[in-house]
């Protein structure tokens, strides 16, 4: 039955990542009895929420054919600004606002470099990575800011049984899903990443789309900064190093294509949790931390190879149907 066949390939293609996540969850539960404890699961989700929020911003950027290497550093800068605002004023709201504002400013500069001055995203955000980290260290004179008082509630507290960072994560995930699926902006992101020239020729304001996506990314990074500093109960200018790579890893494993135009919120969430579960189970079972890095790197490589292979298959299936235009015009 041809239809059944198609049905199963679609299911496999669309839901394989979730099946892997569920499989991994079962394996982890069997591998260590502590994995399923409420304490451990709450812990994982608290830790994961910061990098997953970054991953959601990264997903939108990769879909539109760009990326952000600066998110970890900007997170630290936004975090230390927020922390010192809180220490000076005692206002949590103001602290969050300053964090978000810092994220937005840094990302507007990213967009300026990329969209207005046509710098490659890789290099532009690499520059921002360095500058933002330097600024965070300069501002704090390299010292950690301690004794934060009630600021810690945001990262460590709960509403009922639900940790506050999880509430932020869920809200941001829903927002990202909404933007991608229910706004012209989201549709434009896919178009810009899929074929920028065709998007321009279709009347999409590509400049505006790029600025917008960076600003949204900035908001996410700012919030992540506040949550991170609050969870560790300190303003760490050297915190969240390499978080941008964890975020990219989650997006890639979740099926976001680095060639642009493809990616989903669900995939990225699954990717982030796969990475989180793996890290956690390796920690629980006392796997050497250097070994953990090797495992992680291997998984990224496999995910990328999978992405390229499935893209090549698509390309091959197209090839048979497209006429040769180059040499023979008639």
């Amino acid at each position: 039955m041809k239809l059944d066949n198609n049905f199963w390939t679609t299911v496999k293609k669309k839901y394989s990542i979730y099946l892997i996540l569920v499989g991994l969850f079962i394996v982890c539960s069997l591998a260590n009895p502590n994995f399923l404890s409420v304490n451990n699961l709450t812990n994982i989700s608290r830790q994961l929420s910061v990098t997953t929020i970054l991953a959601l911003g990264a997903t939108m950027l990769i879909i539109s054919g760009m990326l952000d290497l600066s998110s970890g550093s900007v997170l630290a800068l936004a975090g230390v600004f927020a922390v010192s605002t809180y220490k000076a004023t005692g206002s949590l709201l103001l602290a969050v606002a300053v964090g978000i504002f810092t994220g937005i400013i840094c990302n507007v500069i990213n967009a300026l470099m990329i969209s207005t001055f046509k710098a490659p995203p890789f290099i532009a955000t690499l520059a921002m990575l360095t500058v933002a980290r330097g600024a965070a260290l300069l501002y704090t004179e390299g010292q950690n800011i301690l004794q934060l008082g009630n600021f810690v509630e945001l990262g460590q507290g709960s509403i009922g049984v639900i940790p506050i960072p999880i509430i932020f994560l869920v809200a941001i995930a829903i927002l990202t899903w909404y933007l991608l699926n229910h706004t012209p902006f989201g549709r434009s992101l896919y178009a810009v990443g899929g074929n920028e020239e065709a998007a321009i020729a279709s009347g999409i304001n590509v400049h505006r789309v790029k600025y917008k996506v960076f600003i949204i990314n900035g908001i996410f990074v700012g919030i992540a900064g506040v949550l991170f500093m609050s969870r560790v109960n300190a303003g760490l200018p050297n915190g969240a190093i390499n978080y941008e790579f964890t975020a990219l890893t989650a997006a890639i494993i979740g099926g976001t294509s680095f060639s642009g135009g493809i990616g989903t919120v669900g995939g990225t969430l699954a990717g982030a949790f796969i990475v989180g579960f793996l890290d956690n189970i390796m920690n629980l079972n006392n796997v050497d931390s250097y070994m953990q890095q090797i495992v992680r790197g291997t998984i990224i490589a496999l995910a990328v190879i999978y992405d390229i292979r499935s893209r090549n298959r698509r390309a091959n299936s197209m090839l048979g149907k497209v006429e040769d235009q180059g040499a023979a015009k008639k």
Partner: protein, 503 residues
């Protein structure tokens, strides 16, 4: 005379998927002569040259050099056989110096495999002196003019001791004065016994330089004669002489007032002083050879490329269009010639590609109305007879004709007043072509305007009410339907005739 033939190809055939590019080609070049190849875009000239240069392999047939059969597997082998090709669009590294360019891929090395730069410098200087070229071996190519670089390509060919040099439209990018310089060089080469195969659309030049002329059409040799036995008129007739086979769904509709007026459109180096107008209900053609500036004018009009001056009036009102959004707002849309580059988002669905320019009609009250979108897309796909497994299928998996129709469907959803079609039927099947012609007629009946830019003369002649012909960046002629003929268009397009009279 047989010993006089340097290169001969016999019964060469080459097919690409779905099209026969060359069909039993016989062609011979004499020693120490210039042999010109003429033919319309797509006649098979470039394919034939690429076979001689080893880039393509023929499906069948044989190449002979000095009447000995040879097999040419790649350009490097062609070079050792004494064949060099100078390409229509030269690719070079701007930062590279004259000497590096000359010896690229052929650098002399010393014992340990390191480059012998001393020898490079010396041989470059010798060549430059011998060819009387005034620049230093260390000049970067970006500081030279196109014609200088072309000269360099030619002396590169000489440095390989080539005795067959292929030149593919060498004068398309250089000034008149530089053309003369090139011709002096060509005559010099000829005197040395080098054979030159010269491809050009510019017939006046062709008759200055040719010894023999071969005309190709639809992948076959039409005729091959010494220059003395031909004249421009005959060559044009031979180039276009194919019969009109397709029938066109053309209907006469009442012509209304001016819809679009373009005055004094300029963009230095691409087009200048372009003036035209088109009336409601009219199908307007823009003919001309590739590189004549047709596409550039349309892209500027649509806001995709800048222009430096010019006035655009739509329905009598002057409008300012600097980007595509503004153009769409004014009811003017354009289908680009390169569908894969400017038309489709390949990995996204047919549905998304269809509504891309009309997002507000499916995203409103803060959400995407999926049912509305599916209905809208299904209706337009049905209406335009577009075949796709489902509307969620990635567009890249569709056939070329269906992809093109989806891009058109995208614009039809905007209900445009002015539809610009740049090479709308290139690379698509006959059925889809007919559908597109039908659509043009329907739009004209509604009092809309269709502008077709096309290299296929039968198409513009079959569908248009009026044709402008462009050459060298400006409009050289305007022809009304009753006066249409392929010969007349070709004469305007090759610059042998301008609106003022015979050139």
């Amino acid at each position: 005379m047989k010993d006089n033939i340097k290169l001969r190809v016999s019964q060469i055939e080459k097919s690409f998927p779905g099209v026969k590019a060359l069909d039993k080609i016989d062609f011979a070049v004499k020693k120490g002569s210039v042999h010109v190849l003429c033919g319309e875009n797509g006649a098979g000239k470039s394919t034939l040259m690429k076979i001689i240069n080893g880039i393509y392999q023929p499906d069948s047939g044989q190449i002979y050099i000095d009447e000995k059969p040879v097999k040419i597997n790649n350009p490097i082998q062609a070079r050792t056989l004494g064949i060099s090709m100078i390409f229509q669009e030269m690719s070079y590294v701007p930062e590279m110096t004259v000497e590096e360019n000359l010896f690229l891929g052929n650098l002399p090395v010393k014992k340990f495999g390191n480059v012998n730069w001393k020898e490079v410098r010396q041989r470059t200087q010798e060549l430059l002196v011998a060819e009387n070229l005034p620049y230093s071996p260390t000049t970067p190519l970006k500081d030279l003019t196109i014609s200088d670089i072309q000269m360099l390509e030619i002396i590169k060919a000489i440095s390989y001791k080539s005795d067959i040099i292929i030149m593919d439209e060498p004068t398309s990018a250089i000034t008149l004065k530089e053309v003369e310089k090139l011709f002096v060089k060509i005559r010099e080469l000829k005197a040395r016994g080098v054979s030159i195969i010269y491809i050009s659309h510019k017939l006046d030049e062709v008759f200055q330089i040719a010894d023999d002329i071969t005309v190709l059409r639809d992948g076959t040799v039409v005729e091959s004669h010494p220059k003395e036995e031909l004249d421009i008129e005959t060559v044009i007739a031979l180039m276009v002489g194919r019969k009109l086979t397709t029938t066109f769904p053309k209907e006469q509709v009442p012509i209304g007032e001016d819809m679009l007026q373009v005055e004094n459109f300029n963009y230095p180096s691409l087009f200048h002083n372009v003036n035209f107008h088109v009336k409601k209900g009219e199908i307007l053609g823009f003919a001309g050879l590739m590189g004549s500036g047709r596409t550039e004018v349309m892209r500027s009009l649509f806001g995709l490329e800048p222009k430096t001056s010019g006035v655009v009036k739509i329905k009598g009102q002057e409008v300012k269009i600097t980007n595509v959004q503004q153009s769409i707002q004014h009811g003017m849309v354009m289908l680009s010639e390169d569908r894969r580059r400017y038309g489709i988002i390949p990995m996204r669905s047919v549905k998304e590609n269809t509504t891309l320019s009309n997002l507000k009609s499916v995203f409103y009250s803060c959400r995407n109305h999926k049912k509305v979108e599916r209905k809208l897309v299904s209706e337009i796909l049905n209406k335009m007879k577009i075949k796709t497994p489902t509307i969620d299928t990635p567009i890249a998996t569709l056939s070329g004709g269906n992809q093109q129709k989806v891009v058109l469907a995208k614009w039809m959803l905007r209900n445009p007043d002015i539809l610009i079609l740049d090479e709308p039927t290139r690379g698509i099947d006959v059925g889809a072509k007919y559908e597109i012609y039908k659509l043009m007629t329907d739009l004209a009946k509604e009092g809309k305007v269709v502008i077709i830019v096309s290299s296929e003369l039968p198409e513009v002649i079959g569908m248009c009410d009026r044709i402008y012909v462009m050459a060298k960046g400006t409009i050289t002629g305007e022809i009304n339907r009753e006066d249409f003929s392929q010969e007349l268009i070709m004469r305007y397009a090759t610059g042998t005739l301008t609106a003022g009279g015979v050139n």
